[in-house]
Amino acid sequence: MDQDEEVLLSLLGTDLDRHFRQLVSRYQQRLYSFAIRLVGSPQDAEDISQETFLRAYHALKSYPVPRVRALRLRQWLYTITLNIFRNRQRKPEHQSIPLNTSEGSPLLEIEDPSSGPEEEAYWHEMRRELETQLASLGEPYRIAVTLFYFEDLSYSEIAELLNQPIGTVKAHVHRALRQLHKALDTQKNGVR
């Protein structure tokens, strides 16, 4: 747990109403981008991440201070986000859409100062293809790979968060990578 988070938890434990704004400020981008990877639609992502904070507020209000201080905020917020996402998935009107993977996406145009142009071109191409394929993964795989790579959680943390055996998580990440590899490979060879 980093020091900022420790301080924030302490503040939330003492005066939730006053300091809840800080929690939202700190995690809004992270949760929003996590949600958009889950559902694709910015509107749905905003709804899900907003509801996450609302649920979090009420939960924090019902926790005793020691429980608040012992929270691992990031994972806890992801758990709530996933709960909300899954509940919404049961409703047919919510559909997923892919991320921006267009050639012109500014996401893909940042120079990496640590590598040369050849290297850069190689990784650039790989990333562009990867973004495309990532959006097309099945839900369990997309969640696992997003949490593992984009949210930087360990297998154990993901297992705990998803309430799944770690073997299942590893399998999902592994199979997601396999599918990505397969898809990238297919694309490279122009098979489809």
């Binding site: 809004q28 992270r30 500014p106 369990p140 397969k182 060879n189």
Partner: protein, 723 residues
């Protein structure tokens, strides 16, 4: 046509890609959240006038209604209770939750019945709030809703119920709290532990057990309900191994850099060797095998052709046949320019050598109907192709696991009867030698091969650990293991195949002796990955909660033999034992550490000279040498005992990606992004091979050290002779 999974996200409605702005949280996000909670000044409702409050409670905007409830809570107007009771029937859960909190604040005056009813609200957050507010009321409130809350379908309600019960101190009922330790949700389990610490610390310490041995006869149904106590701080003090800057502040730049950096990690893993990964579907026409030179052809029979031409062709045919026979019996010995094998296909994962170095196997050209296994015979140069038929026409569900001897594989797939089928194949003879069937609600099973490939172990969801003999096709043992829903979360077989480490979470870690079915319960370890020593008598673990921690354990007693707290995080799956089992080598993004188990000392720390990209490390098979790449054109060799730098190899202008030690520990092979493979030996000039222009992904030495198989990013496999 490309096969895709069955859960494809649709394209967006407009058919347009999202813009970067859409990836960034809208500026209105924070005010909106605060407003919906009634924490934003702008939405506060004037405290004056009950009519205003009433009107606000009927407003269309949820945020206005929430603000009205909060205003009633703060200013305690006359008739406030009635208005708050009405708000308990609001259509929006946020308003009902706010009303519950507001009513709870009234303490002794709080309407008990209304709050009791709110514990049955359709929304979990409202139910949890009601439980907490009943707690505020004190003795007047019955405990029944709390006990009911322990069985609530919503884990957050169960969590709150457990926490509140814990606050009752020594009067807290013990049973429900103990039951909470086994809740399906980690949040509830943690809350139960916290509650027990608070209310019944002595009970908690009693059920915290030391390492012990339980003997279980095969077939017995002993249920182990006791769980170990987590180490102090376990599960509470996670130190995530963030390798990238946080983007908590939502600035566009930081966010995009973060995404980009993480993508690099994904790319690295996608293009990194995956031991059992498979490649893409492709039509047969896309694959092409070239075995040395000349290309194998069959002479054609010539009929009804003029005598002169016939004679000439017969001669030509005889010559061609001779060349083919020569090729099959004496394939190209390989040179720096001629590969022994080039397979243009769609291969994923590195090639697998057989233990006698005669065969190379790989999976290629997957289709929805199955996987293709290709086996190349180094002696004859022939490639044979076999199909593993998918049992449900869904390749993403199955997995193929090569045995360590490279002559067997296990194909695991869910069949039409919803059973997981494990088919064991002899790769060389291409014979199905064993098929086993297992119930697995998750549709997934681990298959653990013993290092001699003579048996494999399957943890099954029915609570058994099954051991199968590949040679006889019989089941050797079925040891009962503690029954827990689902498969073990981790399972690692010792190299001698005698023991298996498995666990379900930080609380439950075991070592099972597969011969006697003796079960050793380990102290809580929070182990993330497990690394058996070559002798199988001890194992090392890295930690979930502390990325810098590596520990070593005795596999017979469960005793902690050593704990190392390193100065830099250890990467997952990056711990290697030296052959003699006395030292372990840990790898991370910043450094390599050599750790002596007996003395519990860090005997060597290696830091590469330059880190452009994440470094690549390789320990020689005997553990005596370390090679490090750091995304440059330089390989550094280190003595893992003395720490002395032994050599530096440079390939100017190249970007090296892969490094692999020969089995005799004396030669190193490197692969670069431009497809160049070099074999370095002592101080002589490297042997160079050009495998096209695609980046080299993996290099696998044959066990006899005479050949290397390389895979590239385009899914091609090359085999070269090494002089």
């Amino acid at each position: 046509m490309e096969y895709k999974g069955d859960e494809q996200p649709s394209l967006n409605n407009a058919g347009q890609p999202h813009s970067l702005e859409q990836m960034t949280v809208p500026a209105s996000f924070l005010p909106s959240v605060l407003s919906r909670l009634g924490l934003e000044d702008a939405t506060s409702v004037s405290s004056t006038g009950i009519d205003t409050q009433l009107a606000a409670l009927k407003d269309e905007e949820i945020s206005v209604r929430v603000a009205a409830v909060r205003s009633l809570e703060e200013h305690r107007e006359a008739n406030a209770i009635e208005l708050l009771l009405a708000a308990l029937h609001d259509s929006a859960w946020e308003v009902r939750a706010a009303a519950v909190w507001a009513l709870g604040k009234l303490g002794e005056q709080a309407p008990l019945e209304a709050l009791m009813r709110a514990t049955d609200d359709e929304d979990g957050s409202v139910r949890a709030a009601a439980l907490r507010t009943l707690d505020w009321i004190g003795d007047r409130a019955p405990r029944e809703p709390l006990i009911r809350g322990l069985d609530d379908p919503n884990w957050q309600v169960r969590e709150v119920a457990v926490l509140i019960l814990g606050e009752l101190g020594e009067h807290a009922p013990l049973e429900p709290l103990l039951a909470g330790l086994n809740d399906e949700h980690a949040g509830v389990r943690k809350a139960a532990r916290l509650a027990l610490e608070q209310s019944h610390p002595e009970t908690l310490s009693r059920i915290s057990i030391d390492p012990m041995t339980i003997t279980q006869e095969p077939g017995s149904d002993t249920a182990l309900s006791v769980r170990e106590q987590e180490q102090p701080g376990t599960g509470m003090e996670v130190k995530p191994s963030l390798k990238t800057p946080s983007h908590g502040d939502s600035t566009l730049n930081q966010f995009t850099i973060h995404v980009r950096t993480l993508l690099s990690r994904v790319v690295c893993d996608v293009v990194t060797p995956l031991s059992d990964a498979r490649s893409t579907l492709a039509d047969d026409g896309m694959s092409d095998v070239i075995v040395g030179e000349p290309v194998q052809t069959k002479p054609r029979r010539l009929r009804h052709i003029a005598e002169g031409v016939l004679a000439a062709l017969i001669i030509a045919g005889l010559i061609a046949s001779w060349l083919v026979i020569q090729q099959r019996l004496h394939p190209s010995q390989g040179s720096a320019s001629t590969p022994l094998l080039l397979y243009h296909g769609h291969i994923a994962g590195p090639a697998v050598w057989s233990s006698d170095s005669k065969y190379v196997s790989f999976i290629a050209d997957s289709t929805p109907s199955g996987e293709t296994v290709l086996v190349w015979n180094r002696d004859t140069g022939q490639v044979t192709k076999h199909i593993l038929h998918s049992l449900q026409a869904n390749p993403q569900q199955n997995q193929t696991l090569f045995a360590p001897d490279g002559k067997h594989l296990a194909f695991v797939d869910l069949n039409a009867s919803n059973k997981v089928e494990v088919q064991v194949w002899d790769i060389v003879a291409w014979r199905n030698i064993l098929t086993t069937y297992h119930s697995s609600p998750s549709g997934y099973l681990d298959v653990l091969w013993s290092s001699d490939s003579k048996r494999f172990v399957i943890p099954v969801e029915d609570g058994t650990m099954q051991v199968w003999n590949v040679v006889t096709g019989s089941e050797l043992a079925a040891c009962h293991i503690p029954p827990v829903d689902g498969l073990p979360s981790v399972s690692y077989l010792s190299p001698d195949g005698q023991r298996v480490f498995f666990g379900y979470g930080p609380q439950s870690k075991y070592v099972l002796d597969l011969t006697t079915c003796k079960l050793l319960i380990l102290p809580s370890t929070d182990a993330n990955w497990v690394f058996w020593s070559p002798q199988g008598d001890r194992f090392a673990t890295n930690s979930v909660t502390d990325a810098n921690m590596v520990q070593v354990w005795d596999a017979h007693t469960g005793r902690n033999l050593a704990s190392f707290h390193l100065s830099a995080p250890v990467s997952d799956a990056e711990v290697t034992w030296t052959h003699d089992g006395t030292r372990i080598v840990t790898w991370g993004d910043k450094e390599v550490n050599v750790l002596d188990v007996a003395t519990q000392r860090i005997v060597l720390k290696v830091i590469p000279a330059k880190i452009d990209l994440l470094p690549v490390w390789a320990l020689s098979p005997d553990g005596s040498r370390i090679a490090s790449l750091s995304g440059t054109d330089t390989v550094q060799l280190w003595d893992s005992v003395t720490g002395r730098k032994l050599n530096v190899y440079q390939s100017p202008g190249e970007s090296l990606k892969v490094v692999a030690w020969s089995p005799d520990n004396r030669t190193l092979a490197t692969g670069s992004t431009d497809g160049t493979v070099r074999v370095w030996h002592a101080n002589t000039a490297p042997q160079t091979y050009h495998s096209g222009s695609s980046a080299v992904l993996n290099i696998v030495w044959s066990p006899d050290g005479k050949s290397i198989a390389t895979g590239d990013v385009d899914g091609n496999i090359w085999v070269w002779k090494v002089n």
